[in-house]
Amino acid sequence: MGLENLLLGFSIAVTPFNLFVAVVGITLGTIIGVLPGLGGANGVAILLPLTFTMPPTSAIILLTSLYWGALFGGAITSILFNIPGEPWSVATTFDGYPLARQGQGGQALTAAFTSSFVGALFSIVLITLFAPLLAEIALRFGPPEFFAIQLLTFSSFVGLGGGNPLKSLVSILLGFILAAVGLDIVTGQLRMTFGITDLMKGFDFIIAVIGLFGIGEILLSVEEGLTFRGAATGMNLKVVLQTWKILPRYARTFVRGAFIGFWMGFKPGGATPASFMSYAFAKRFSKHPERFGKGELEGVVAPETAAHAAGVAAILPMITLGIPGSPTAAVMLGGLIIWGLQPGPLLFTEKPDFVWGLIASMYTGNIIGVLMVLAGVPFFAAILRVPFAILTPLIVVVCAVGAYAVHSSMIDVWYMMIFGVVGYVFKKLDYPLAPLVLALVLGDLAENALRQSLIMSQGSLTVFFTRPIACVITVAALFFLFMPILTPWWRRLRGLPPTPSAPAEA
């Protein structure tokens, strides 16, 4: 049953046009991943308007390929330039950059790309196996279960996101409040518009993504002073083959990283903690922990495997539950709605060609991706040698074009600029941006689920505890929500020192 669906998917993903789309997506994605200020989420957001006229399956293949490319591209800048393109590539710099400085850049890059590929493949296989099952279970979900999942989504940002949990909570609340602005579809009343016509449409999260991540990030990079002092790539076929001969030695690290990545990744905000966790585990179980941080190849393998496994796993809740696991997945979800698809478990029964085409394209996209980045490193690294006085205004212009194109509206470009300044200030004050974007996306869905649940129970909150599935999820959500309070207390009880907190998710 599962196999013939997958074959159907491949028959869609392996058409010349869709393969071409994947190649274009990966090329653009890698460029976006390499450029400062542009990452997976806003790359996907800017290109979204271009997909309006495409068939949905090709459109999603373009956007997911872009995402794989951005994930690969992050490793290039981490290793060669010591600049993590994305928060989950931070751990890759620890050993990747020292390796590149020692002239082992080619080896480090090969290891990083191969690990990414292995991690991604692991998650894709698990998605192929479990997505239909999860979708089937989700079909039986009612509003209380969906609201409980939303609660879990956001409480895991508070509990696992790192940084100040209260600031994560503020980001979530702000996102939900911005989502509530405009027409309330249930009652038809206008909320927080104060008679201003432009506010009636509300705030589009795609604009928020472009502003917060695009403009905000470029302001941060110019503040730090953009200077790229890259190490030589040292990449050729011989190095690739030699590295592939060494890599099987790290089989355990691969497996561990892939499991950590998948497990953390299908919950939101998981990719960054997954990469750090995988790195820490690799160091602990290594025979030479003292070599870590000075250029140990295993220190590149571990975080890259986990980060990609997590990045791919973030697609799972998006296609089965209609709840994105990361800002990038959120933008894709927005795309689904624009292309006229209803995200959620019904996709598997109503649009099997779309879902299985997407899943099959994840295999083909990652295979094409790893080959392309292995071959194209010198080209992609050369992008960072373009003078910053050209790159900076170029990125601003690209963001403005993308923001305008979403609704052909000038006010959106102004919103983008405001979100850009907000993103700059928030990032400097350690307010995480990902939960804000996710709350803005899920605002209406979460509110409707809550309303319907409360109508079912005539206003009693016990509805989230009396239904078995909802109860399990709600309890898990509350556990994550209160984890920042419970952890220090638990550690003190056992006489352990307080843990240093992980860096906040972007």
Partner: protein
């Protein structure tokens, strides 16, 4: 100082929380004839935002002034990007996006990057032309246009 920035942000967030609460009360934040009223969800969001922001403000106050939020040397390049970008967006309404972005690119490259005039002209004309071909011609996504495009017949 970081504390000042933290407190200023908190003040703004308090204002947003207050707006949410006041507007929700106007709409009704309780139980209507057919379920929760329009203001129900935003009311609790706003209330929670007020509470959490007050705690953050107290934390920030206790922590002391901290490092400078942004130094003058750091702010300069940020403003060099921001103000011309604002000017570009403002100009877009008058002369269209393509011409405005060409001017922005040229201005920034010459003023901040001090690139040669030839590079400046080639890139600041080339990029809008490519954008035009990709968006307007290939994917049929229209951008705001001005007198120049009208003169050229688009």
């Amino acid at each position: 100082m970081t504390r000042t920035a933290d407190l200023a942000t908190a003040a703004l967030l308090l204002l947003i929380g207050l707006i949410a609460v006041v507007d929700s009360l106007r709409l009704g934040a309780g139980w209507g004839s057919d379920g929760p009223k329009s203001g129900f969800f935003p009311f609790w969001l706003g209330t929670l935002l007020l509470v959490v922001t007050v705690v953050i403000a107290v934390q920030a106050w206790r922590r002391g002034p901290g490092k400078p939020f942004v130094t003058r040397e750091q702010l300069r390049p940020v403003m060099q990007v921001l103000w011309p970008a604002v000017a570009m967006v403002a100009l877009t309404a008058v002369i269209g996006l393509y011409v405005a972005s060409a001017l922005y690119l040229a201005f920034y490259m010459r003023w901040v990057g001090r690139h040669r005039w030839l590079t400046v002209v080639l890139i600041s004309i080339g990029i809008p032309v490519v954008t035009f071909l990709v968006f307007e011609q290939w994917f049929l996504v229209p951008m705001p246009k001005g007198p120049l495009e009208t003169w050229l017949g688009y």
